[in-house]
Structure formats: structure tokens, C-alpha cells
Subunit: 344 residues, 2 copies
């Protein structure tokens, strides 16, 4: 919802979740002149302490991390920047608390990019709550710039699209042991294959980005399938995140691939390769649009964690300005650098 006023004024934000990402966001907001009017956390080690100290800014900000979200959200904030979890199911109550307090939400939670098919009931509930309170909920992050909007912009040069293929590579070692263990880093290949065959493997969050892409293009989803495959080396490699070596033929990462077919014909594939980088390797993002003509796009040296936070911060004025409701990424305009981080 647009915030009307005689003059633009600094945006007032609440940090909702003061983990690693929330801490980066805190620093970025301060740099950009956003007024931080509150911080919400739940860990005993954080609640009651100054946000500046918790977020590693090394100076007090006069903002105390509090556990009572409702009280914090009542302080006339324009927006809550929510950095808590990756799936909508766990995030639903947090989002509802913000929306019911009449506060816009921008989040790095990845399912909200396009939740209409993977979590339709939650999506409808959030959309209704946002509309009822005249505010907007939207997700952003790496996928906003690197997986969706760079690609749809590139397709502005397409005459005919047959197949869109993306591949994003990120370094498992940039994250903690939790992420490395989640990807089964170090597990022998055969054991991993048995595990997946027996227990399945969670669908990863590319689905939402591909669905947002197809919605933006005005095409109709026919089928979505996901697969996972292990990445192994024939020599040992050190894993920083786990603090140990991974032996040959054990997992140094996984490739998650999602394939989406459309009723109109074009297919969309996206592979996410999370792996231990070898010396000199960097995070990258690569897209190919096959058709007439073939088009190619590549980003190297992508600082994935940082740009997740900086993209969310740039989205703040867009989300404040957007119509009320759950704005999946297909509905938001293009991301861009915000020179003025004020109300419009």
C-alpha cells in the first residue's frame, strides 16, 4: 500500500528474525538510512540485547531484540523484513502476525515467491489477510534477480521459446554444518541413492521460481517434476562447513533439478547445484533460452548470501507501494537499485 505524505520520509522497518541473514539486513538498512523501529527474535541469547550487538554491528542501536512480535509491530512500522525460515508452513503464523498488525512484509522465505500451487490454502489465507489489512506480502532474494527477472528480461529478445534451462551453483561451505548435513555432504554415494529411493527427497524451491516465470509469460503449467543426483569426486576434498575431509565417492554436493512443462509447448528446467567449491570456483548462475534465437546469460562470482539480503532491501519501497495482497514475484515489477530508500 502506498504511504501518502507531503514529503518522502525515511522508511520505518522492523527486523523479524535476527539470525545470520537478519543481521546482514540490519547493517544494509542502516547504511541506506532506513529507520529500524524494532527487532523480533526468540533465542534466549538474543532477546533483551541490543540489535546492534546481536547483529554484529559492534555498536548499540538503541533497539532491543524482543520476543513479543505484536508489541514491536505496533510501533507504526512501514514494513517487516522477515528472515526466519524457508517454507511457508512454518512461516505462516509469523506472516499473519505482521499482516494483522497492518504491517507490510518482505521476506527471504522461498515458497512465498509463488505459493499458489505448492501451498494454496496458506497462500489464499495470507492473500485475504493482507487485503483485509491493506498491506502487501512479497518474497524476494537471489531468485528475484538471478533466476526470474534476468531471464524474463532476456526473453524480451526471444521470437520463439522452446526450452529454458538454468543452472545455479552455490558453495555449501559458505553456510554452516546444518546446511551441509541437510545435503548429506560426506555420505557415500550408494548410501545416498538408497536413502533417496526409500525416503524420497524434499522438492526444492526452484519450483516456485519456474512457476512465477511461466505465470509472467502467460503460459499454463502442465507438469512439474523434481529429481536429485549426487555429486562425487575421485579425490578427497576438505569440507570447511563440517570441519573434515570428504572421501572419494562420497557426496560433495547434490544437483536438484526441476522440470516444468507447459500446455503451450515450452519447457523450463532449473538445476541447483549445492557443492563444496574447489580452489578458484565461484557461485554462478547460467541460463540458456533455446528457440529462435538461442540466448545465453551468465553471472559469475555471485555472492549468493549477500545478494539475497541486498535484493530484499531494494524491494522494500516496491512492496510498500504495491497493491494490498500476496504479491507473488510474477506480479511485482522488475527489481532495481533504490537510490532513495524513502516512502514514495
Amino acid at each position: 500500500m502506498s504511504v501518502f505524505g507531503t514529503n518522502p520520509r525515511p522508511i520505518r522497518a522492523v527486523i523479524y528474525g535476527v539470525g545470520e541473514m537478519g543481521s546482514i539486513v540490519t547493517r544494509l538498512l542502516l547504511d541506506r538510512g532506513v529507520e529500524i523501529v524494532g527487532a523480533i527474535g526468540r533465542s534466549e541469547t538474543k532477546v533483551g540485547r541490543d540489535l546492534g550487538i546481536v547483529a554484529g554491528i559492534e555498536r548499540p542501536l538503541g533497539v532491543t531484540v524482543e520476543a513479543n512480535a505484536k508489541a514491536v509491530l505496533g510501533r507504526d512500522a512501514d514494513i517487516a523484513v522477515v528472515c526466519v525460515g524457508s517454507y511457508l508452513e512454518t512461516m505462516l503464523p509469523h506472516f499473519m502476525t505482521c499482516l494483522e498488525a497492518g504491517v507490510n512484509v518482505v521476506t527471504i522465505e522461498e515458497e512465498t515467491v509463488f505459493p499458489w500451487t505448492s501451498a494454496p490454502e496458506q497462500a489464499e489465507m495470507l492473500d485475504a489477510a493482507a487485503k483485509a489489512h491493506g498491506v502487501t506480502l512479497a518474497a524476494s532474494g537471489a531468485q528475484d534477480v538471478f533466476w526470474l527477472n534476468l531471464v524474463t528480461t532476456l526473453m524480451g529478445a526471444s521470437h520463439r521459446i522452446e526450452r529454458v534451462v538454468g543452472r545455479s551453483v552455490w558453495n555449501v561451505d559458505d553456510y554452516g554444518p546444518e546446511v551441509a548435513n541437510h545435503l548429506r555432504i560426506g555420505m557415500p554415494r550408494a548410501e545416498f541413492e538408497d536413502y533417496v529411493a526409500e525416503s524420497g527427497w524434499p522438492e526444492f524451491v526452484a519450483r516456485q521460481t519456474l512457476e512465477a516465470m511461466v505465470a509472467r509469460l502467460g503460459l499454463t503449467v502442465e507438469r512439474v517434476t523434481s529429481t536429485v543426483s549426487p555429486i562425487v569426486l575421485d579425490t578427497p576434498i576438505a569440507c570447511r562447513a563440517l570441519g573434515k575431509d570428504v572421501p572419494p565417492d562420497a557426496l560433495i554436493g547434490t544437483v536438484d533439478t526441476t522440470v516444468l512443462t507447459t500446455a503451450e509447448g515450452p519447457t523450463f528446467e532449473f538445476s541447483m547445484e549445492g557443492r563444496i567449491h574447489r580452489e578458484g570456483e565461484t557461485d554462478s548462475n547460467k541460463w540458456q533460452v533455446f528457440g529462435e534465437p538461442d540466448l545465453h546469460l551468465r553471472n559469475d562470482r555471485v555472492p549468493t548470501r549477500f545478494i539475497t539480503c541486498s535484493t530484499v532491501v531494494n524491494r522494500i519501497p516496491d512492496v510498500i507501494d504495491a497493491p494490498p495482497g500476496l504479491m507473488s514475484l510474477d506480479k511485482l515489477g522488475p527489481p532495481g537499485y533504490q537510490h532513495e530508500m524513502t516512502t514514495r
Copy 2:
């Protein structure tokens, strides 16, 4: 201007200029189901002949190339696709004829991308005429996707921008002898340097793209400077466009560089390298955004001529829908693939 109707219907277009680019556009429009209601040309070898034959489609389309633009534009067209020249001065009367006939214009003419500072009087005149007749004039082409919108989208991940540097490489041999001679291909390096020192060198069309970029970012242009430098090899190379070899130390191309500084600090540089490609070299587009963080974007194997035409075609529904006036590229939304080429 939006074309209102009960149902979307095919767009009705006029081809204005049936040279090489207009011919490609003709084929693309037919593929996309656009109704071609007229074609305007001036060459004696084209006027009076069927557009399909003139454009190399190899079948008659029942549309005759005519010299009387006014008469053709009177046939209830939604849009004229104008592929005639590269500078606004020569294009002004053609654009005015379209606008005064109440027909929207999309063009590959490059100055119209952002003509407000390089041709302010013509820009104001065209803007006024478009508004008076309730139609829109806009330019598109390679710069729309590859030089402007991919880069502004990438900057959606920027926290702080210090310097933006772009480089686009294109093959002189993909064009005719006119273009090769314009770039002084084959001229000895010393002679070229003397020539530029004495006669100067025309500012190339990157200026407009950089100005559109800076306008989109909300920054203020301080100074724009352009330079040209020769490209030479130490071995001979065949020039297809001229049908002869270029000796060592003679021009195989030029690098045109435009540097734009802003009052707010960030600088913007764009170099356009037009050269004879060696075996295996392809057209490319590369941008680097230096700041926090550094961001990188690269497109290889860019079919520059084709995507100039396909991008303009994808822009047709946007231009028909846009508010009346001269819409420089900073004001148009992001380019995208148009699955339905109908009125909206």
C-alpha cells in the same frame, strides 16, 4: 494508448521501411500472427511490389509497398514499425507523419531511446505530437534488453554502486560495406588517428542508453564524454563486408567508449567494439557493476541483428498500451516475451 475492445484481436501493423531490418521484422510479425495492413518504402526497386517478395518471404502477402506514407497509415493500423535510420534528425518527419495519423510508433532508431538531451527540440516536438494524437512513440532494439534492462535488473542486487562498466562486441562483417567504410575498416592506424584529430568522430548511440539507465536509477547526469580508439592486428585478416584483406596495423574495427558521471557519484561507462571477428569469435555483451557487491553479467553468441528485430516486435503490445507521448526507454516497463501478440 490502450486499444479497448470486447475481445483481444490481432494487432494491425504497418512496416515503415523495408530494408534489411524491416524485412526481418516482416517475417517475425507474420510468424506471430500480426496483421500487416501496409508497407511504406521509397526505393524505386521496391515501391509497387508485394511486401512478401521485397522482404524475401518468397510468397506474396497481398500487401504492396507504397511510397505515400500518409495513405498507408490511414488504414486503421495500431502501430507502425519504423526501421529507417539511426539518428533522430533524419527520422523526425517520418515519426511526425505516423503520430499525426494517430498511429503508435516503435522504432529501431537509436537516439529515440533517450533523446531528451542529445536532441531536446525534436524530442519535445515528438512528445507533444504524440500526446496531441493520443499515441506513443518508443524505440527498442538490442540496447533495450542487453544494455539497459538486464543491467538495471542486475543492479536490483546492488547495495552500493560505484562504477558500471559495459562492453558490447559486434561483427562488422555481419553488415554491408557501408558500415565497414563508416568504421574506416582497412584504414592505416596513423591515418585514422590523424583523421579523428582533425575531423572528430560522431558520438555513438551508447550515450542514450547510459542516460536512460541513469534516469531509471533517479541519478543526475553531470558530464558525458566519448572517445574512439582503433583496433589493429599484426597479421592480415579477410574482411567479408569489403571483400578484401585488411593488412597489419590497419583498422579491423573501432572501440567507441562513452563515460557518464553523475552528481551523486556513480560513473557509467560503455564501450562498443565493432570489429572483424576472427574464427570462433561471437558477438557478446558484458557488464560489471562495481560497488558492494561486485556483480557480473555476460551474454555470449548474441545474434545482434536478429534480436534487434525480435525485441522491437515483443515491444509492440507495450507501446500500444503505454500512455501517450514519447516514452524513452527509462519509462517503459521491462521487456519480455509476448506469448499473445494481440491487443490487451
